[in-house]
């Protein structure tokens, strides 16, 4: 059972109150982009075993989308932050590095 702290309402919500939104920080490629970019945007995901940055929606609560970082293998949560961030904030990156020193870092 995942318990994520919603950065908007501050509630520690369990996953039955939340809706998963898949990998975070995707760049949208729409009309006019190359077929390769569009395919990658639609279908290609990192799917790592380890640190994963995701989008979640507090559906049965305040209704806001936010970001969460967790380990897909152990379900450890490294932190959550608001959807207004285009990349993980420094304190989140720091928290991941403390627990996973071999993590490759955030690439965009």
């Amino acid at each position: 059972m995942l318990i994520l702290r919603c950065p908007y309402c501050g509630i520690c919500a369990d996953e039955t109150e939340l809706t998963p939104g898949g990998e975070a920080h995707l760049t949208r490629f729409g009309p006019g982009s190359t077929d390769e970019d569009f395919e990658a945007y639609l279908f290609l995901r990192q799917n790592p075993k380890g640190v994963h940055i995701e989008r979640w929606c507090h559906t049965c609560g305040c209704g806001k989308w936010f970001h969460a970082v967790r380990c897909t293998a152990t379900l450890e949560i490294f932190g959550t932050y608001s959807a207004q961030n285009l990349r993980p904030p420094p304190d989140i990156i720091e928290a991941i590095k403390i627990r996973r020193p071999d993590w490759g870092g955030f690439h965009k």
Partner: protein
């Protein structure tokens, strides 16, 4: 004007707590920047209560203002006054970025009374409803069974619950089954 009726017409049920369809209630959704002083002023002028702190509800009789999210309030008032209050809010907030909607007919409200009120709600909600985590006056949006609801404590033994009207019968049935059962003794 049509005769407004609530989802279960004021039905009541007594089990380990008393569950009552609280009748038609004026409910207004107000969205906007809650930090904007004009919003606080308009809420005070319209429903007569102060802006709530995050996750709280401020109440004065039938009137109240509940914090639904960082940019959304739920204003409650007597059913007949909702229409005029919406107009008043729209007038007061002219020029601001906001949205006001009368959602009275889209919602159902139940009043739950009894010492076991926390226990009954905790049977269907993942929220921590222990006295330390859910104090009187805190509005908790969560789920009950499989549907989204919001509830708050008026006092130690009285809770108010709001849900979508279309789900009112489900919530009513759920509360009847749960309140007809034993006190689980979580807290």
């Amino acid at each position: 004007m049509s005769n407004a009726v609530s989802v279960l017409g004021g039905a009541g049920f007594s089990g380990i707590i008393r569950v009552v369809d609280a009748g038609v209630t004026g409910m207004i959704t107000l969205r906007g920047d809650l930090a904007c002083p004009k919003i606080a002023g308009a809420v005070k002028a319209t429903v007569g209560v102060n802006l709530p702190q995050a996750r709280n509800i401020t109440q004065n009789g039938h009137n109240g203002a509940g914090w639904m999210s960082s940019d959304e309030l739920l204003l409650t008032c007597p059913y007949e006054e909702a229409c005029t209050k919406v107009e008043k809010l729209e007038e007061a907030l002219k020029g601001e970025y906001f949205l006001v909607a009368d959602v009275s007919d889209a919602r159902a409200r139940f009043t739950l009374t009894g010492a076991a009120v926390r226990e009954v709600l905790a049977k269907g909600s993942p929220a921590d409803l222990s006295p330390g985590a859910w104090p009187v006056g805190e509005l908790r949006r969560t789920r009950l069974g499989q549907v989204a609801v919001a509830f708050w404590l008026r006092d130690d033994i009285t809770a108010e619950l709001v849900c979508f009207r279309s789900l009112g019968k489900f919530v009513w049935d759920w509360l009847n089954v749960t309140a007809g059962d034993d006190v689980p003794g979580y807290f």
